[in-house]
Subunit: 142 residues, 4 copies
């Protein structure tokens, strides 16, 4: 399934090269074939009008981490683009940290599908706050 032996370096670059991800503070914690895990320490800037973590923060994490999971399984010259995603917000998100784990459920020539689960960590307790399905496509970049 692995088509690029340097998949870890390539996937890490997805985080160091993306301004919006650095701006938010999303850090990669773990990369494996078909899998990526990220973490975000919550700051006041991440909140919405009721002091919960904004759905957009969670969606960004779910999308980018899914793209990273997909990136582990593509060829050296390819990049992953998001075609679409769907995300359910299961409970209001609060706490010190978010953790996202994304897994590829199908890596095709044309279409890659990944799932992302986002957990809030609040006083040491972890709760599922969101789940997403993400449709990706590997494209050859010049």
């Amino acid at each position: 399934m692995i088509k690029n032996k340097d998949f870890r370096e390539k996937t890490e670059k997805l985080f160091s090269d993306a301004n919006f991800i650095k701006e938010l503070g999303i850090k990669v914690k773990n990369i494996d074939a078909g899998l990526c895990e990220t973490e975000l320490v919550i700051e006041d800037k991440h909140r919405q009008q009721h002091n919960f973590i904004h759905a957009g923060v969670i969606a960004t994490m779910a999308d980018h981490t899914a793209g990273a999971a997909g990136t582990t399984l593509i060829k050296e010259k390819e990049e992953i683009l998001t075609i679409e995603f769907k995300i359910n917000f299961i409970r209001p998100a609060e706490g010190e940290k978010l953790r996202c784990i994304s897994k590829v459920i199908k890596a095709g020539r044309l279409i890659t599908v990944a799932e992302s689960e986002v957990y809030s960590i609040n006083g040491g307790r972890e709760k599922l706050v969101s789940k997403a399905m993400v449709t990706l496509t590997p494209v050859e970049m010049e």
Copy 2:
């Protein structure tokens, strides 16, 4: 359909009270019953690894503007929460600005459904870059 005569003020507060929206720079341009329009001047911090505007920025705008459109049609004591959304990325987003227009297609007692269209403005030309369907619920807040 309007259940709160101060719906404009209430909807504007959704933007002034949400840290993440201020952090990104999303501004409300127009509010009407069942409708909200927003704008974002693109800065370098909004970009992803290929210099396009990050999908998370677009998704945040689509979600928050849809929630604002839904907010125009709820009661004084209610707030809108996002249950889930689905977003398609139709073409890579680049340019000076994003514009989002959200419309409620059903405002129910239990479920409100809105659609968001996000356009990029590049050298004066506007292009549809994304479309989302957003499922919202009005909840009574204490």
Copy 3:
């Protein structure tokens, strides 16, 4: 935008060649570039446990009609496949007929996106019961 002058015949074949569509009774009413409209006369077999029209009937109509709208814009040797769809059920569906109208919002080389609106017709009154976003891909068939 039209890449196949015989797009009407090709699209009609999508209905006459699909057993499940004939089984349900979905009929094509109108075909144009980037657009398809279908109709279904409701029978008892289409119902669910509360006598409403089953969500699966509506989803089938939304998906197949979207695929047909996409088919109008592809090359002679290509066929449309559904990658994924998302569908909201806006109100319980009842009545004598369903009408579905699907429009392509982006016809790309790799990805086509269409939207489907399904209306119930009950005593001459038409109501939106469902809206879907459908991601399609044109593939060359041997």
Copy 4:
């Protein structure tokens, strides 16, 4: 989590009382708290224009089985309605049978979220052909 000791009988009735499900031939195989498994023996009537199983058949199975999984966790007087679902078609579906397994990932007072995986069984080999996320709501019926 179980609010109705007769949840198995109630869930079975979802299959015996729904005409469209009987018409298609979807049979319930297993019911547990937060879980439902169904099976469908493929006939020619289930096919689309390329002889694959129609996406609408798979979507119907994913939706109805998810609703059944949700039904296991609601009160005696409540019924489950589908608010929306999103489904990815991972590979073309062919074979003698489909099997669907649905699991509730959140059973809330207002919103229940379930996931459905649909597998094709072809010459004894099982393959994931589709995955869906389904948003449900328990409503009190008179």
